[in-house]
Amino acid sequence: MGFLDNTSITVDAILTKKGRELLARGDGSFNITKFALADDEVDYNLWDTAHPNGSNYYGAVIENMPILEAFTDQNQVMRYKLITLSKTTNRMPILNLSLQNTDLTYGGAEVPIIAASTDSGDETFTFELNDTDVSYLVGYENGAEKWSSTLQQTQDDEKTAAVVTTGEVRLRAKQLRTAKSARLTVTGNQTGVTKSITVTTLADPNA
């Protein structure tokens, strides 16, 4: 005789900075309509198929790991989302970027970055630059600059990040006295697949 495992778990949520901002706005933009699950803290290399106690213990290390409390910075949580795929899937979707780490020059040509994922041809992407002092982030659609409200979604309070939702962006260097780097993170809005590159704007001698 034992007790049944209760699979319903109750957890308390905290508002992110974005959530607080939208709630304070009071214009109805704080409207939760969907959820996602993530496993940022988990290292699947700890899945131990050689565990002496057998298959029920393969994940013992992971399952007994206490987890850090949630952060309010929406960029530091929910980074690695769980995804629904067919059971026969034997390879995860891959995000391909047309460019890797890159240097930008003030006054030089815009640098295009095109994202595509292997599993979803019509997927849109969120490009997030964590420091907008480094570069402009311009949304493109079908090869043309587009700044519709659906493409440029948000620019956060501290103006340290720019988010553009589209399949292509172009980077335009800002004029800087000293070289500076920023992290450009690209996330598939459907599959959650993500990749980051470093963008560096070189110092402009005329600045």
């Binding site: 309509t33 699950l37 987890i67 989302k81």
Partner: protein
């Protein structure tokens, strides 16, 4: 939920439930339900008749916090310097206090307080005003007791409100109003020694504002608080009022807060969320990019849920919850996670 998706829609009224609950807790610092020692500030009240802040700890303690303020208010300005004929310069703090309380607590057109079962209006009163940070939203009626020690010849008093005996409290512009009566709640329920109908109310209690006022004349008659309150004179009445509370050594109170909670039932069925974008779940570079790092995951993938994110239509993360331990998810397991969000 479609294949290749990371977001799942929450169905209104099925996956989302809102609830409003009233939470009560101890009113004083760190959620303490009562105070037995009271401290004032040495540099306050020595020359002004306006009010005194009361702290939970001595002045030498850096963590002390204001718990409530006390003071004395007089319609005619007794106990403070200044007079109506302008012959004496003074701020008439006690008169200012009386008018302020009257404006805030009484209906328009009423300039004096009149307590239950008294024929005439009250000319002066002592007040206790709870610190807003301590009180948060409101005081909990029927769950406070203030004791004062009488001066020589008088009798000690225990004050409570009569909310337990009142099913329809008076409601005016200051919200609900209850009579302050003598009695105690130390037994767990209100034990009223003398009702307002029998002996007259000793004052008024405004739970929505966290204000208690006590009729000075009535307390003078009972000998509980015999302060000096002379016209055009700074009598430091507040210090005498503080001494009565301080030597009474007991003030218990609770606060009430209404919390709106929304529960989101995040259901992961057996077919959903069985793959992960975690960089350790699949190889991230080279020719094998995308291949599972654990070969046993082919045909029987396993993931762990450690975070739940709540999003709006434009995929903005509004709230996040973390599980205390990762929960295993696979094609043979389902999970329901109830996420509670308080406002």
């Amino acid at each position: 939920m479609a294949i290749n998706e990371t977001f799942k829609t929450l169905e209104p009224n099925i996956d989302t439930v809102s609830d409003r609950t009233t939470v009560s807790s101890g009113l004083f610092s760190a959620g303490a339900g009562s105070l037995t020692a009271f401290y004032s500030s040495s540099n306050q009240g020595a020359s002004s008749a306006s009010y005194l802040n009361v702290y939970d700890k001595a002045q030498t303690e850096s963590t002390r916090e204001v718990q409530f303020a006390i003071g004395y208010a007089s319609y005619g300005g007794s106990g403070s310097i200044g007079n109506t004929t302008k012959t004496t310069a003074g701020n008439r703090e006690t008169a200012g206090m009386y008018r302020q309380f009257a404006n805030v607590l009484l209906p328009p057109g009423t300039d004096k307080f009149q307590f239950t079962n008294f024929a005439s209006a009250s000319e002066d009163f002592y007040f206790v005003v709870m610190n807003r940070a301590r009180m948060r939203e409101k005081m909990d009626p029927g769950n406070w007791e203030l004791r004062i020690a009488a001066q020589a010849g008088g009798k000690d008093m225990k004050f409570i409100d009569d909310s337990g005996a009142t099913t329809t409290p008076t409601v005016n512009q200051a919200g609900r109003v209850f009579n302050v009566v003598s009695g105690s709640i130390s037994s767990g329920t209100a034990d009223v020694k003398r009702t307002a109908a029998a002996g007259g109310a000793l004052g008024n209690f405004y739970p929505d504002l966290g204000i208690i006022i006590l009729d000075a004349a009535h307390l003078q008659v009972t000998g509980s608080i015999t302060t000096t309150r002379s016209p055009n004179t700074f009598d430091n009445t507040n210090a005498q009022w503080f001494k009565a509370i301080s030597t009474g050594s007991y003030f218990a109170a609770r606060r009430e807060e209404e919390i709106t909670s929304t529960m989101y039932f995040c259901r992961a069925t057996n077919q959903e969320f069985n793959f992960s974008n975690n960089p350790t779940f699949a190889t991230k570079s080279g020719d094998t990019e995308g291949v599972f790092t654990q070969t046993t995951f082919e045909g029987d993938p396993k993931t762990y849920i450690s975070q739940v994110g709540l999003y709006n239509d434009t995929n903005e993360l509004l709230a996040v919850a973390k599980l205390s331990k990762p929960v295993l998810k696979s094609f043979s397991r389902e999970a329901v996670i109830k996420v509670k969000l308080d406002f």
